[in-house]
């Protein structure tokens, strides 16, 4: 991989990293366990590695944006995550900020393309 490709890959990773929390909070309205969340995000077009998502879920839980519970009713115990009340509030604020940012970037791109 050349230098430019490496730089591009890093920049894309940074770009995606910034959207991960928003994507996870948007996908956690219903309780889901880690592995199912990977697939849920994948189906929405968000590619995320398992080893990135699982620690992120725990971090969001620690920040009290997600709440968790163990389901031991099946043969394999699973930890389910669901957005908390605080998480809902943060999500609403993030959505507003995201829209603002999206509009700004769209505006900048359209200005640049019209030159």
């Amino acid at each position: 991989m050349g230098d430019k490709e490496k730089i591009m890959e890093n920049l894309l990773q940074e770009l995606k990293r910034g959207t991960l929390v928003l994507s996870v909070l948007l996908s956690s309205r219903e309780a889901s366990y880690g592995y199912s969340l990977v697939h849920k995000l994948h189906d929405c077009g968000v590619e995320i590695e398992q080893n990135t998502l699982y620690p992120l879920l725990r971090r969001l839980e620690k920040q009290e944006l997600l709440e968790s519970s163990w389901d031991t009713s099946e043969s394999r115990p699973r930890k389910y995550y669901k957005i908390s009340t605080d998480g809902e509030e943060i999500l609403e604020a993030l959505k507003v900020e995201w829209s603002k940012m999206n509009n700004v970037i769209k505006e900048m791109i359209s200005k640049e393309e019209s030159k």
Partner: protein
């Protein structure tokens, strides 16, 4: 699936104690979900190995859960290195002073000097190493138990603080100030606590068979030692300010010039003070051979330096006006 348990155990060993069991339990469940989805309920050993390989090395997986664990918090790094440098400098001054005292007090010569020099280097190295180890442990404990955000050393910083930064000619090298501080501290210790070293030096010289024309009267020297100490402490302040701000402001230049002038005045009094030197009528050599000569030499060098600096300053001022 023993290999899965071994893998989860290996990750667990690298996780913080807090929440370890919960992370292990969750990881095992997630890994088994992944294996089920990819290879069904009865995977082969190779398939298990492949799944584990894709999941990642134990250390790498554990690090994702532990976050960036710094030995010393980035907010403390500058302070840590400052203390580090001060420590080495202080140890160097202390052991060099001890060496100087030994040199004269024990009348060292030849290989004994080399041996004591080696001891001095080793002592500086060992003491610095011990000091650095203690400082490092303290910083590791601070980083471990105190959240960096709670000890933001620049938390109360405001742009108003910039107003106290003096602007002037930037100092090209700080080595001059470091060396000056080093020797000034040694001289202060020697003339105040070990003035007898002056007589030791004189006696050592006379062992060569040449009798000095005069020797320093230590009782009378005590008065000059106080005056010299005052000037040297003022010089320490000057060099500390240079190290702190790395600029020679006009105020600092004037301050330094006044100090040089004071030093010269003290030296003039010393050189011309007949009570400071006890004459030896048996001596046949020049009265300048001895500490009277050394003081005269320092006076001449100081005067030349003072004249050169003043001349340079006057020349630059003249060029600016033109």
């Amino acid at each position: 699936m023993k290999i899965i348990d071994q893998y989860i155990y290996a990750i667990g060993q690298k996780l913080p104690m807090r929440g370890r069991e919960d992370v292990k339990k969750e990881l095992k469940s997630l890994l088994l979900d992944d294996i089920d989805a990819k290879y069904g309920e009865n995977p082969t050993e190779d398939q298990l190995n492949e799944a584990i390989k894709v999941f990642g090395a134990p250390g790498k997986v554990a690090r994702k859960y532990s976050g960036d664990r710094l030995v010393i918090g980035s907010g403390f790094t500058d302070l840590y290195f400052l203390i580090f440098k001060i420590l080495i400098f202080a140890m160097s001054v202390a052991f060099f002073t001890v060496f100087m005292v030994q040199l004269f007090a024990d009348n060292l010569a030849g290989m004994a000097i080399v041996r004591e020099l080696g001891n001095m280097v080793m002592n500086i190295y060992n003491a610095s190493l011990s000091g650095i180890a203690v400082v490092t442990i303290i910083f590791i404990i601070i980083t471990r138990f105190v959240k960096e955000s709670k000890v933001d050393l620049e938390d109360d910083w405001t742009p108003k603080e910039l107003k106290s930064i003096p602007l002037g000619q930037e100092v090209e090298s700080k080595i001059e100030s470091f060396v000056s501080i080093f020797f000034i501290m040694i001289f202060i210790v020697i003339i105040n606590f070990f003035p007898q070293l002056i007589n030791f030096a004189e006696t050592s010289f006379e062992k060569s068979g040449i009798l000095l024309a005069s020797k320093v009267n230590l009782e009378h020297f005590a008065l000059y030692a106080i005056l010299m100490t005052v000037v040297w402490i003022a010089e320490l302040v000057y060099h500390i300010l240079i190290l702190k701000f790395a600029v020679k402001t006009m105020a600092l230049k004037v301050y330094n010039a006044i100090l040089n002038l004071c030093s010269m005045i003290i030296l003039i009094f010393m050189v011309t003070d007949s009570n400071l030197f006890v004459k030896n009528p048996e001596s046949t050599i020049s009265p300048l051979l001895g500490f009277q000569g050394i003081f005269t030499l320092i006076l001449v060098i100081s005067a030349i330096e003072f004249l050169v600096e003043t001349g340079k300053w006057a020349y630059k001022s003249l060029i600016k006006k033109m």
